[in-house]
């Protein structure tokens, strides 16, 4: 099912006398989600991503704009008529019902001709349970399951009614780090197998990048960028997106363009073409540094962290916007940790330039 959002806007009224005035949670969001894709809504907390999910689910009604599922306008439809499956952050499994009863719950709600026979319901519940590999847990109560298992039950409950759209709210945030890796693969696999258009919300960029077909980066209710994870990472639309994506985060410097040269502080790092002289912000991905005896960028060496495959070099530069510069270099390059200075050359493909005032990215060509 293709989903189209047209100029979607949600404003909430002021909460009380102290917080008067409307709050715009989502502003003019337009986006066409292709059929069968997995989309990650990404942003810091309070950016409107959960509100967007609630608008699509029908739990909230938009102030302006339209939502279409395929050709059908569902903007005015209540949640139960939209045919969506929703997985909550805390799973919202009914604690007094067994796993089986939880999964069958949506089917038992149906009345009239849509109602399945008891045997069919059991069969569908078993199929959904098999999909998420919890067939052995059917007679347990949610309290007897681990977080990861509860998550699977919640997904099975959302899948059992064969929704047109599957929505997941922070699906991995309540899991520990190892389970998170495993579960996100699982979500990807289930989504592939069912082909259901899936939208999930997360504040964890790694999570969004790793499994999404498309990611939507949001900030304060406004969409910053929509695109394939790699494209968004390589060509962020602005400084916010560049800072938000990538672990370790991007290193930022004050920089200047003078006579077709990019200066970081007083170090001319490389020559580029087609940009007038101006003040810029320079972003360098951690993997964009190479340790080089006669490299142009000279930094104080603060330390070296060996992490097996890579070495992380910590430095400081007076034009740096972060307290510490973190460069990731492959284990093959030797760094003497006892030296006071380290010199880097930069890989221009991993360097991003932004207007100092608008923070929009500037395209450039390296000579």
């Amino acid at each position: 099912m293709k989903i189209i959002l047209e100029n979607l806007t949600k404003r909430f009224p002021g909460r009380d006398r102290k917080h008067q005035g409307e709050v715009t949670a989502v502003k003019d969001f337009s986006f066409e989600i292709p059929d069968g894709s997995l989309v990650g809504l990404l942003g810091p907390s309070g950016c409107g991503k959960s509100t967007t999910l609630n608008l699509i689910s029908g739990l909230e009604m938009p102030t302006e704009g339209r939502i279409l599922f395929g050709e059908d306008d569902v903007t005015g439809l209540p949640a139960e008529k939209r045919g969506i499956g929703l997985v909550f952050q805390n799973y919202a499994l009914y604690p007094h019902l067994t796993v089986r009863q939880n999964i069958m719950f949506p089917l038992e709600n149906r009345r009239g001709k849509d109602r399945l026979s008891k045997a069919d319901m059991q069969k569908k519940a078993r199929e959904a349970a098999r999909m998420v590999q919890i067939e052995d847990l059917m007679d347990r109560k949610p309290g007897q399951l681990s977080g990861g298992q509860q998550q699977r039950v919640a997904i099975a409950r959302a899948l059992v009614k064969m929704p047109k759209v599957l929505l997941l709210d922070e699906p991995l945030s309540n899991l520990d780090a190892r389970l998170r890796l495993q579960t996100r693969e699982e979500i990807r696999r289930i989504q592939r197998e069912t082909g259901i258009t899936t939208i999930f919300v997360t504040h964890d960029q790694e999570e969004a990048m790793s499994i999404s077909d498309l990611i939507v980066v949001m900030k304060e209710g406004v969409v910053q960028q929509i695109g394939k994870p790699q494209d968004v990472y390589d060509s962020p639309a602005n400084l916010f997106v560049a800072k938000f994506l990538g672990t370790p985060p991007i290193n930022l410097f004050y920089g200047q363009i003078r006579g077709q040269k990019l200066f970081i502080g007083e170090d001319a790092v490389f020559t580029l073409r087609g940009i007038p002289d101006q003040e810029v912000s320079v972003g360098v991905r951690p993997e964009g540094f190479q340790v080089c005896e006669d490299g142009p960028l000279c930094c104080d060496l603060k330390g070296v962290e060996v992490m097996g495959r890579d070495i992380s070099v910590l430095g400081w530069h007076k034009a740096s916007l972060n307290p510490t510069i973190r460069a990731m270099i492959s284990g093959g390059q030797a760094v003497q940790a006892d030296r006071a200075l380290v010199r880097f050359s930069l890989n221009p493909a991993k360097v991003l330039l932004f207007h100092r005032d608008t923070e929009e990215r500037i395209d450039f060509e390296v000579v």
Binding site: S57, A79, Y94, H96, N109
Partner: protein, 299 residues
């Protein structure tokens, strides 16, 4: 090993004050009452008795006043506990579903709780009593609907029982509403959202989600409601005065009191026997309640 022993010793030491109080003011009197109930013709001034046996129980169980009291108490329990819990649940759900002025209504519903029982009883008497001068407010309403006057305070048995039940339900309502509204508020909103997305009807949401989730609190109210209603006394006095046997409105606790201090009083042995019978009744019903509750929880 030694430290562990010290530890448990310390634990007992902390418990000691509470244990001493409980032993002195709860366990000892309980045992004492039990002993009195078997001492025939015990006289508290001379501390003498004729013999030991079950005569006190036989007397009490054949006393028409006691049987009347047992009947009244049981009727009161059977009528008021389910009704008050049901009405409180209904009102709490209503209160919970309104957004505006919720706290105002919660306060209004809670006011009777901080009002004195006897004062409330007086108000009820004024509402229901028929005197030479006035028929009372409730009778005015009955007249308005074309019915005959009823003397609720000194009239027929069913009218008096009605007033008593009405009063009891009204008095216990605030506490139950307080407990139930907070229980309802503690149910995570996500459960309702999940139910909504799945198209669950309102009734089904209540029966399958809300009620099971607040069931521990409902159950607590039922158990304490039973115990409270079995011990009813001051409410009855507030409505019908102290000569309850004459009014046919005595309760078991009232009977115990009358046997000790009433006009016909001075019989601690009979009072003890009646108290032990009440104790056994309450214990049995509470145990039955707990067993039933546990079975429900296991399902």
């Amino acid at each position: 090993m030694k430290s562990k022993k010290n530890h448990s010793l310390k634990g007992w030491l902390y418990l000691l004050p509470a244990l001493l109080f409980l032993a002195a003011f709860l366990v000892y009197p309980l045992i004492d009452v039990f002993i009195y109930s078997f001492e025939e013709g015990y006289h508290s001034a001379s501390q003498t008795y004729f013999g030991v046996g079950t005569y006190n129980y036989s007397y009490v169980l054949h006393d028409p006043y006691f049987l009347q009291a047992v009947k009244n108490t049981f009727l009161l329990v059977i009528i008021t506990v389910p009704l008050s819990t049901g009405i409180a649940l209904f009102l709490s759900v209503c209160l919970h579903s309104i957004k505006r002025l919720r706290s105002v209504f919660q306060t209004i519903y809670f006011l009777p709780y901080v009002t004195n029982t006897l004062a409330v009883g007086l108000v009820f008497m004024l509402l229901f009593q028929k005197t030479a001068y006035t028929d009372g407010f409730i009778n005015l309403i009955i007249h308005w609907f074309g019915g005959p006057s009823v003397d609720f305070i000194e009239g027929p048995y069913w009218a008096k029982l009605f007033v008593l039940c009405f009063y009891t339900i009204w008095v216990v309502m605030p506490f139950k509403i307080l407990i139930l509204t907070s229980a309802l508020a503690s149910v995570n909103d996500d459960y309702y959202k999940a139910a909504r997305v799945d198209g669950t009807s309102g009734l089904r949401t209540f029966m399958r989600i809300t009620l099971p989730m607040i069931w521990p609190m409902v159950f607590y109210l039922i158990v304490t409601g039973f115990i409270g209603a079995f011990k009813a006394y001051s409410d009855v006095v507030a409505l019908f005065g102290t000569d309850l046997n004459a009014a046919e409105m005595n309760t078991i606790v009232g009977y115990v009191y009358d046997m000790l201090y009433g006009d016909s009083g001075g019989y601690p042995s009979y009072a003890s026997a009646a108290a032990v019978i009440l104790f056994v009744i309450v214990l049995t019903i509470t145990c039955a309640n707990l067993l039933a509750g546990r079975r429900q929880a296991d399902d």
